[in-house]
Symmetry: C2
Subunit: 251 residues, 2 copies
């Protein structure tokens, strides 16, 4: 088995209300094509933009609570207001960063609210409201257009505990088994594996990211060779990758 | 740009004292070959085995402290003793797991001590003493054998905070820029990026892992297409991916 990782070039600048699935399909048809079993990894940024999840900071009125946290964290109070609106709760604060739990249950910096690669200054991009549903919609359209069974990941780059730098992870997925569970199965020596439960969707999102430069416009990447993880239905989505706080010795 | 990810088949079962670099070189020569700019991702397990970092639990006498922790965590006291010896400190305990800081500064379950894919029952595998040095030694040998400039990662699968499943990361690397730092550089819209610092080595280790089954004997994987991250010297190694606790808002 081997895999190939190709950017899907030619996706235009995405704007609110755009049909992002149609844009991806057109680019894939003009470019590397799609076959059954392919995995498309699409950045959260273009999905959010198409879904109108871009906000002008001038349209945001910060609450007193946001003003207070903004002073503590030396952040723009309007940005803090958006972060709070996107969050179930604040996990940690400091160093100009707020780490919160998003509506999806993700723990990340600034609730995923991001000012990079947004066209106009003074605007920021929020995560999709339901990133698994976003992946499902794209998957349905792509599979109808190509007449094949593909999987879709919506990805974003998250900071990690104890490690420098960010790694791309799956914030949404459809048609993909998000983890591969070897617990209870034999290893190469016939010994039962106890702790091997692999976050395939996150690893695949990272594999897609290494082909990209952050200044390049390559928001969609095609991975070929991961058929064994591709499902004939949407599957549990990236929601299955959220570890409940009560189970989480690492957090 | 695109990347291809190929296992290097045919590496035999590695035993203590084996010349693992020679085994990788022979397998690469018989198999997919190596070119300048290629990245070899080698699992920690074969490196540790070759370096004699396999311990029989019967040879371990647990200290009173290990006996006490073993009772609290319902683990084998001899295993706890090894975990403590491999650790600078215990970060968290519970659910039959100890999360510790290793001698390298990694925060991981059981100090990386692992009972899976070890040939004899009753034996466990420890992390290499200096996994960057291990990567450097393999890189030097591989580059001499092929007359090219390759990069080497020594990888292991780590659990993460807040996410289900494990992801493969770099515990050692040589000849690779472990992160790509876009902070201060312009994004696609000419806006300065503030938080984009990508853990290339960890993402590449994950890319290598998705081609592998945990029951397969594919401890080495070749990634082609990442030349822009490959250095003409060893570079800072995976040590550069360890985030100091004082800087770490996520931990």
């Amino acid at each position: 088995m081997s895999i190939t990782v190709h950017p899907v070039p030619g996706i235009p600048e995405v704007r609110a209300g755009d049909d992002v699935a149609a844009q991806i399909i057109a680019a894939a048809q003009a470019g590397p094509g799609l076959e059954g079993g392919d995995l498309l990894v699409v950045t959260q940024k273009i999905v959010s933009k198409a879904e109108g999840r871009v906000v002008s900071l001038n349209d945001v009125s910060p609450s007193p609570a946001a003003e207070k946290l903004a002073a503590e964290t030396e952040k723009d109070a309007r940005l803090v207001e958006l972060i709070l609106r996107e969050s179930r709760g604040v996990v940690r604060m400091g160093h100009g960063v707020m780490i919160t739990e998003t509506r999806h249950g993700f723990i990340c910096a600034n609730a995923g609210v991001d000012a990079s690669n947004v066209e106009r200054t003074g605007t920021v991009c929020l995560l999709p409201l339901d990133s698994d549903a976003s992946a499902q919609r794209i998957r349905e359209r792509v599979n109808a257009a190509f007449g094949v069974g593909c999987a879709v990941i919506v990805s974003d780059s998250f900071g990690r505990a104890w490690r420098m730098g960010q790694a791309e992870i799956a914030v949404g997925c459809a048609g993909l088994a998000p983890t591969e569970d070897w617990r209870g199965l034999p290893d190469a020596h016939g010994r039962t594996l106890h702790a091997t439960h692999i976050a395939i969707a996150d690893e695949a999102a990272s594999a897609a990211d290494v082909v990209r430069g952050k200044d390049s416009r390559e928001p969609a990447v095609r991975l070929r060779g991961l058929e064994r993880h591709v499902l004939d239905h949407d599957g549990p989505g990236a929601a299955a990758l959220v570890r409940a706080a009560a189970d989480d010795l690492f957090a």
